[in-house]
């Protein structure tokens, strides 16, 4: 009855909605990525690409999409470079590339997707971080708030999730506007 109640509902989406795919040029890179990520404890799967994917080799690595940023940093440090990263349910989607800037006079705020970073212009101190919903956001805010922009750790160095990734983009944009 319970299964009927849950799965009988209208329009249940695939439970793979929170998964992403790493695309590589060569199968050898797929194997290296698989070994590396499994050794680091991530739940990943090597599989064939969906028909929409027109690039890369004949295999992709499916991974937990929310942890995209940490996974990409892990691959980068091992010099394994995917040619693209896409959500399983939307292989043609791309990351947000729109920034919204708000000038509060002495303060400047930049938003990327759901993440906002605010600095005091004169000191370039990060005074607030808001938005987001993944659990690394309060941690990132704690680590960055009160630090000078150039001296603060980059979100990609200590964050894990897509919210952390959005904050990285906002961080890069506000830095670009200030430098």
């Amino acid at each position: 009855m319970f299964f009927k109640k849950l799965f009988g509902r209208k329009k249940a989406k695939a439970s793979r909605a929170d998964r992403g795919m790493l695309l590589f040029d060569h199968t050898s890179d797929v194997i290296r990525a698989e070994n590396l990520l499994k050794a680091e404890g991530w739940t990943i799967k090597v599989m064939g690409p969906p028909p929409e994917i027109q690039r890369g080799c004949d295999l992709v690595v499916e991974f937990p999409l929310m942890e995209q940023m940490r996974i990409l940093e892990t691959l980068k440090s091992a010099k394994v470079h995917p040619v693209d990263v896409v959500p399983v349910t939307g292989p043609l989607l791309s990351p947000v590339d729109l920034f919204h800037t708000k000038d509060f006079g002495e303060y400047l705020m930049v938003r990327a997707a759901n993440m906002k970073i605010t600095i005091e212009k004169k000191s370039r101190m990060i005074v607030n971080i808001s938005g987001g919903g993944c659990p690394d956001v309060p941690f990132l805010a704690d680590q960055l708030t009160g630090k000078i922009l150039e001296e603060a750790p980059q979100p990609r160095e200590i964050g894990h999730t897509l919210c952390g990734y959005a904050l990285q983009l906002a961080y890069e944009e506000i830095k670009r506007q200030c430098l």
């Binding site: 793979r16 939307g90 947000v96 808001s130 919210c163 959005a166």
Partner: protein, 282 residues
């Protein structure tokens, strides 16, 4: 009873459950002190202040440490599934949790099995999982900000990071975003949209809007959306009608913000301290 499920930004923080109280500017749960900076601790602190004003019991919390790998979130998820019966007839608010569709579905199934299910409120990461799962309509209330509303309105996006530009551009047209979220079944029965204009909607109908007192700098302050959700949750748990509770929470949050004479550098703990005065002044 109000139950709040979320995380704290400390990897070593264990799973703790129990009533929460405030000690100075920190939360206290089962002997653990947690600074109220933003995220779930800010939501819980706002709920405690609201319950005090309303003369109700403090919220019960389910918290674990998580800095983005999801391990603490999974402890919270597991606890809810294993103790689902204890949440019958409560108001259950889900907050900063790692979006995980599989665990989300297990929780929903466990709660659906109850003959007297809880009032279900979702915000932040758990709201993302609820939308991704396709079961958003199973919730009584979502409390997105405008950026998150754009994500709910984008039927293809698995996370706000992938919200398509042509939808993200519609920030100035919140009613359109609400309509689109409902059209694709990606909204809860009711939406409290937090922003420069707060709105309450159900099934494409906008019941009310609040735009004053205006406090533009609150957009920059981390945790001000969490305090609205915390206040609304506490008022709903007290038996107040959801529409009225959300209206009171949104208005009180603006007044609390004004009481702090805020700048973009103001921290949310100051807002939390002002909540009793703001609620009393309504």
């Amino acid at each position: 009873m109000l139950v709040i499920a979320g995380t704290v930004p400390d990897l070593d923080f264990p799973l703790v459950t129990g009533p929460a109280c405030l000690e100075g500017d920190s939360l206290k749960v089962e002997g653990h002190l947690i600074p109220v900076l933003r995220g779930t601790p800010a939501l819980v602190a706002a709920a405690i202040k609201t319950a005090e004003v309303a003369g109700n019991q403090p919220p019960h919390v389910i918290l674990a440490g998580d800095t983005g790998r999801g391990s603490g979130s999974r402890l919270v998820y597991q606890h809810i599934v294993e103790n689902a019966r204890s949440f019958a007839e409560t108001t259950l608010t889900f907050h900063y949790l790692q979006p995980d569709v599989d665990w989300h579905n297990r929780i929903l199934m466990a709660l659906d099995a109850l003959s007297l299910p809880p009032v279900r409120i979702a915000d932040a990461g758990f709201m993302y999982a609820a939308k991704m799962s396709g079961y958003a309509a199973s919730y009584d209330l979502f409390t997105p900000d405008v950026g998150e509303l754009a994500f709910l309105a984008d039927e293809k996006a698995p996370h706000p990071f992938y919200t398509r530009g042509f939808i993200l551009h519609r920030d100035q047209s919140v009613p359109e975003l609400i309509e689109r979220a409902y059209a694709h079944d990606n909204a809860a029965a009711r939406l409290l949209v937090k922003g420069s204009v707060d709105m309450f909607a159900s099934g494409e109908k906008i019941h009310w809007r609040i735009d004053s007192p205006g406090c533009e700098v609150m957009e920059a302050m981390g945790g001000t959306g969490d305090t609205i959700t915390g206040m609304a949750s506490a008022l709903i748990a007290s038996g107040m009608d959801m529409e009225k509770a959300c209206h009171m929470a949104a208005l009180a949050n603006r007044h609390a913000g004004m009481l702090t004479r805020p700048t973009p550098a103001t921290q949310v703990a100051e807002i939390v301290r002002a909540i009793p005065q703001a609620l009393a002044g309504l």
